[in-house]
Subunit: 368 residues, 2 copies
Amino acid sequence: MDEFARIRHWTEHRQSAALLASQGVVTGIGDDAAVVALPPDEQSPAEWLLAVDTMVETVHFNDATMAEEDVGWKALAANVSDIAAMGGTPRHALVSVSAPKAWGPERVRRLYDGLYACAGHYGVAVVGGDTTSSPLHLVVAVTVTGTVAAGKAIRRAGARPGDAVFVTGAAGMAAAGLHFLLAAGSAAAGGGDSPRPVPPAAAEAAGTAALVQAHRRPAPSVRAAALLAARGTVTSLNDVSDGLASEAWEIAEASGVKLALRESRLPRSGSLTAYAHRAGVDPLDWILYGGEDYALLGTIAAEDADAAKAELEAAGLPMYLIGEAEQGPAGVELVRDYGERGPGSRRGRFSSPRREPLAKRGYNHFGG
Amino acid sequence: MDEFARIRHWTEHRQSAALLASQGVVTGIGDDAAVVALPPDEQSPAEWLLAVDTMVETVHFNDATMAEEDVGWKALAANVSDIAAMGGTPRHALVSVSAPKAWGPERVRRLYDGLYACAGHYGVAVVGGDTTSSPLHLVVAVTVTGTVAAGKAIRRAGARPGDAVFVTGAAGMAAAGLHFLLAAGSAAAGGGDSPRPVPPAAAEAAGTAALVQAHRRPAPSVRAAALLAARGTVTSLNDVSDGLASEAWEIAEASGVKLALRESRLPRSGSLTAYAHRAGVDPLDWILYGGEDYALLGTIAAEDADAAKAELEAAGLPMYLIGEAEQGPAGVELVRDYGERGPGSRRGRFSSPRREPLAKRGYNHFGG
């Protein structure tokens, strides 16, 4: 196959005309550039959102941690999450794949399978791409567009003292899943096998299926973002891609406020707690510093917090009110309202809360 | 420097508020996604153009062929050229850089220096980016946006029998420049030096400065594209990034026409001809199959061809009428109206033209 045949093999007949039309695609893959326009009823006064995210073999994934389909899914999902974190609607994607010859066209095709699965799930039109060879490692960079009503993009800088701090899902899951996959991969390699993706059945057996899923097939909070943005009371928003602590610091510094996060209110997944116990890791390390989670972290006017939570929960979406924004100086504090004994201790619940400054970074996944 | 400090080092204070405002940048680098809107007077009914292009170390450049600044310039220029090739105006860029640790922040900074120089030259606002580490080789993927009046994007598929075929500059220059750089780089490496970019003075001394410049600092035909698009008579347009023959084939196949290219009318640079003679290469190989040139190749209504040429030349821009579109079947033919003897032969000029089918691909630069 020459280059053009390969591109057709990877991208042709992947998306319906209806999906492409719904995103205003005039010309898709195949010319020098894609041509897109919003349907006239949506055109004005929308603003456009643009984001790019990159995944590098050996830095973000390897043969043991992810199958090709997972890489494709996640490369797009990370970008979809960035659009959600601005309160927007994802629309178009462009894909740059640099693939070593050793990968061959079929492995790249499976990467595209996963990418198109994610695109279909979120209604994103894949409108362009570039494929090149790479000497040794696969690199995939995806750019997405999205739109938001003019003036309605939700930035990091709007948090005000008195706002409630929320998160739309459990953090730390992806980091725990990666920890499991790296350990399981090493064990398999030690057994002489060439590295293959740790099979889902192994995660199932180990009780880590949800963690592995969070790492391999993250689910951006697009619906939650749309519901929250429509309320008009969300004052800052990030996704948790760099870890809860790091993202909270970004909001605090951009907004000039202090965020107080209550340890007792941080959502904890049962499988994370169980696996952390077995792995000898403090689950809070993953929850605060894990990264690659695509829950949304933000602040909302305190008087609307309970109503927003009720609306999301009625839609089947979780929302946790985990703290408050306070007068600066800018910073993040963890309120250890369990006391010293942790969540399992009855006595701990009644000891007086203690505040600790929260470091921006701790655990550093994968060294990437 | 941590990741955030590095990104600031590379991207902060690079572009004026006036440039960013002129491209409707509401929020640039630093949040989850950039927010852009066209100024209200331009907003409707524009269509958006989207393109992505990737450069990989060892595939598209190496230490001998390009300095870091050249890599940054060219990574953006290739995309700007794709927007020009649709008849559009380039507006925004997003940059994904995967850099090996060995590159260090200063080499990456120089890459950004070149990229921002190109952005400034073409008025492109750099609004987003992602930087990751890479195990061994640098990969840079750039995505650009552009706009075009609704319905006015110029595709490949519109050429009609009777149209004139034109090109806006000499092809083959970049391929000849690369040939010189690879030969000079090998010679230097053979001398025991570690590979460094072949200095401009060496190209100057060898009479290949224009060829090296074409490879390292290509100049997309944005002004020519704007003038041509405004005439409304251009029926198809490509840039010559994959070589004149290949791009002519793309237009012919997309439009269902035959393109007859006249050998005698193909623009020939004096330095290309001179260097080809010394290197023992048929200059026509580079002209037809060279690639990485950013002149525009297209078709235009025959009755407007001379007026378009006059308008471009009045603006200091070359335009060469190199052939005609004919009834299909789709294909490309080279009209050898020099006869067998080549352009240097007086007798050759008067021998009767001979037509040859032109292969899509011949010379394959760099193996990439």
